[in-house]
């Protein structure tokens, strides 16, 4: 299962942090700092994997990918495959890119809720539920459309039975 997803920039500023097991804020910060300390000591052209047991406790691995000014970090346990998680990061970033058209760091800051929505489509309760970038995009577009609609028409028709009567 995925334990945490983090996005941080090369200065160590957190851009996104999502922990799938509850941790108090201070602990989260400590972990983020720990991860950043390891990341920035990594040379170029080394593997994208880090043994994260000293930071996250037993049975935890970390895969990161460096894009422009950002590190994308996934922390997970032995039930995932490192290379596959690396591609999962790729899927995530590709989706971000499709969604924001040429995504940049600030998009992630300002499109905070949207980034979370994308992540929620991909990873649900720590499990990877969707890995197809186009499927995710479809869902996101639909959400955006409905959200816009619900904003325009403030009153959503509320029939109690709804879909269940079908």
């Amino acid at each position: 299962m995925i334990k945490a997803v983090m996005v941080m920039n090369t200065q160590g500023k957190t851009r996104l942090a999502k922990f799938y097991e509850y941790l108090p804020v201070e602990k989260q910060q400590e972990l983020i700092r720990g991860v950043f300390a390891v990341l920035c000591s990594r040379a170029e052209n080394v593997s994208n994997f880090i043994d994260a047991e000293s930071i996250f406790g037993p049975d935890s691995r970390l895969v990161y990918k460096h894009f422009a000014t950002l590190y994308f970090v996934f922390v997970f346990d032995s039930s995932e495959n490192e290379l596959a998680v690396l591609d999962l990061i790729q899927v995530f970033v590709e989706t971000l890119d499709k969604c924001f058209q040429n995504v940049c760091e600030l998009d992630i800051v300002f499109g905070y809720s949207k980034v979370h929505t994308i992540l929620d489509e991909m990873i649900f309760g720590g499990q990877v539920v969707e890995t197809s970038s186009s499927e995710i995009m479809k869902a996101i577009e639909e959400i955006s459309k409905l959200e816009a609609a619900s904003n325009a028409i403030t009153l959503i028709p509320k029939s109690a039975s709804g879909w269940r009567s079908r």
Binding site: V25, E53, V129, S133
Partner: protein, 964 residues
Amino acid sequence: MEQLRTFGRELAMGSQGGFYQSKEFLDLVKSIGEARSKAEEDRIVVNEIDTLKRRIAEPDIPKRKMKEYIIRLVYIEMLGHDASFGYIHAVKMTHDDSLLVKRTGYLAVTLFLNEEHDLIILIVNTIQKDLKSDNYLVVCAALNAVCKLINEETIPAVLPQVVELLAHPKEAVRKKAIMALHCFYQKSPSSVSHLISNFRKRLCDNDPGVMGATLCPLFDLITRDVNSYKDLVISFVSILKQVTERRLSKAYDYHQMPAPFIQIKLLKILALLGSGDKQASENMYTVVGDVFRKCDFSSNIGNAVLYECICCVSSIYPNPKLLDSAADIISRFLKSDSHNLKYMGIDALGRLIKISPEIAEQHQLAVIDCLEDPDDTLKRKTFELLYKMTKSTNVEVIVDRMIDYMISINDNHYKTEIASRCVELAEQFAPSNQWFIQAMNKVFEHTGDLVNIKVAHNLMRLIAEGFGEDDDNADSKLRSSAVESYLRILGEPKLPSGFLQVICWVLGEYGTADGMFCASDITGKLCDVAEAYSSDDTVKAYAVTALMKIYAFEIAAGREVDMLTECQSLMEELLASHSTDLQQRAYELQGVIGLDAHAVEFIMPSDASCEDIEVDKDLSFLDGYIQEAIEKGAQPYIPESERPGVLNMGNFRNQDHHESSHGLRFEAYELPKPAVQPRIPRALLPSTEIVPVPEPVYPRETYQTPVTPIPSNPSDAGSAELKLRLDGVQKKWGRPTYTPETSTSNSTSQKTVNGAAQVDGPSTVNSTRETYASRKLQVEISHEKQKLAASLFGGSSKPEKRPATGHKVSKASSHMLEKSHVPNSSMEVASEKTAPAQTPPDLLDLGEPTSTSTAPSLDPFKQLEVLLDATQDASAANSATSASRSPDVMALYADTPVGIHNKDEADLLSGMSNMSGATARPQPTKGSSKGPNPKDSLEKDSLVRQMGVKPSSQNPNLFKDLLG
């Protein structure tokens, strides 16, 4: 990545790309981004918190504005600041009708709250309502919150709705519902145990997304209970087949691979189901082979699938064809330039060598490359692999490498791990005890107290027992080398406590045993230790006990004991110590010093740490006394349980003993049954720290009988915290793993390691160490890697480390040894190192050349001396055998050297008598196996020193009264 180049624009952008941001938020992000210090950033955030606190409490905030505030709160909390004042507003937002606001509210609460938070109670109701909503996005948001916020108690409140949603027309909802159910299962399996079948049903979902998601909970379920899901093997295989045949929609293609993530999950599940199950595995062979064939090596994800295939192949019942393909892929991974693939290759290799160990050899160079790679991750992975493939043939290289790496890193966590691995490997495969001690010393020195204290205890035990063979000469050499190395190490500053304990114990037990160091040297060092680590009571306690032993040995050897002044001041300090344990030890030491030689020798026999101490629990030796007392009219003792007055208590206790603790216990923790003390303080027994091994290992332990009259209770002596419970600790060193293969060492010594050849421990050890060292040198000069590889992988090229046999045989023939020993002894001494009695004569010839080169501590001159003295030794040995317990014999040749005042000569003599002691040692008839001889030499030594010849004694004044 190409498409992300634009990340570089960063702060250049302003208006575009922002979705719900206001000028204020933009400014906040900007100013935080520009903050030059953490303090500045904190100040900005604190200001922001103030603003938000004020604003958020205002009445009638427009929803849009409110939403932005919440997002800002989330942002602040992400930066590590407390935003709890806004939680309630986030909860309120979940009640909102607007989808946008509601979703933001749900997002905020899932980030802010956990399932134990007080505000959850306010949300459960909303969640219940939203799960019934006809807007599927609302349902999805609620399901998301369910996963994060519903705890065991609230599961029943939402469970019915979630189960209903499993049949929702929207696949996104079905997917999330199944995952929510999985979350419930993880939190409380019993609450959803009746719904497990739903997971199986969803596997047949029309939508591949739902099917793929269902694999996650199924993987979990199968991990916990494989056998209930064996029937699904066929389904999984057919799904995997369909996936590889591209039957899924194009949307799931990723880099031209059909649904690779689903393939990976399926392979993982198959690996679980096929593990150790031939029948199930046979169903999988074809499809796994297909996956192997169809994967594309060029893409990352293709390699991910291939790696998973290898994992699967190495887990299921082995199939040679698949193993071959796996080996091919591994070599491709290892040859790749990508560190990621190398990493995966090393990992995969580690899995595969369990099944086919031979494949490691073809990749040796690649593995060495990885070991020397600057990438830490790769290096660690490689160490993991090496750990898995350690054998007795390559343990030295591997452990040395590990220790070097361990020294070079700072990461305490990994240091501990690698240290414990070193210890484990060394214990399991140690080629020689010298090597083991050196390796352990390094580990201790550099990892300090990170290693388990048990390791320290094992080390002490090893030093005390040697390898359990009868070669006492080897044992004493081992001890001497340990003592020597410890005296050297003590010079280093700041040693870890556990290590100091070992050092103190060994110095106390064997510091003066070989006569190389005099008591004042050792005691001085021990006092230094106690002084330098004065905050560590445990170390101090060890030091005091060691002092006591040394003084006891001195007294037993008939010498006057002169306490160094520093030692005296230490005693004074400890006699008034706050620690009762230290105090007791100090008093005991005082007590021992006051006793006469005979008593001391009785309570503190030298090198008795391995002796069994029998505790006569029935106290039968008091029977006579009791009888006498009863005859004189004393009341017989009635056991507590039979006394009428305490009947209840007794009953309770009996109950307690029989059925495990129902009802109350009225008594304190059980105390160890107190042993009766004869006339000596019981804690004075030697090395009671070591609880003796249950089975007698040495033939010399036949000499238990004189010891047994002292009914000592080991658990009673000393403080509880200091006890070394070594019984039951498995003896791991070496032997069982060594194959008694004929050693073809490159040195001159072609030793036939047959059962009878009791080749002397140290000499073999030395020669092998030598070959090792020379090889190592070679390694460094030419083709370093290849050599290293050879030492790691090529087991056959390396001489077998230890003569693995001998032990049992010699044990069996130990009684024979006793007889045949004496006539041979002069021969032995002459050849100095070759095997005793039962050695075939031709071995003597072979042994000789090595022994001269490999006995560094003894010079030829000494040997000569010994030769000259051999006759005397032989006669001494003879008389020793005849006399059952012979202090007179001891005196006989203890007297000879007394007159000698020349230091050198004295040393020689001590060395000699030490050796004579060694030769005499295997005689079980002697008092203790070590006999009086080492003591004897000690005595000589100290006498010479007391005459003022040796300047090492810091305080010559001390001797004044002695001399007169």
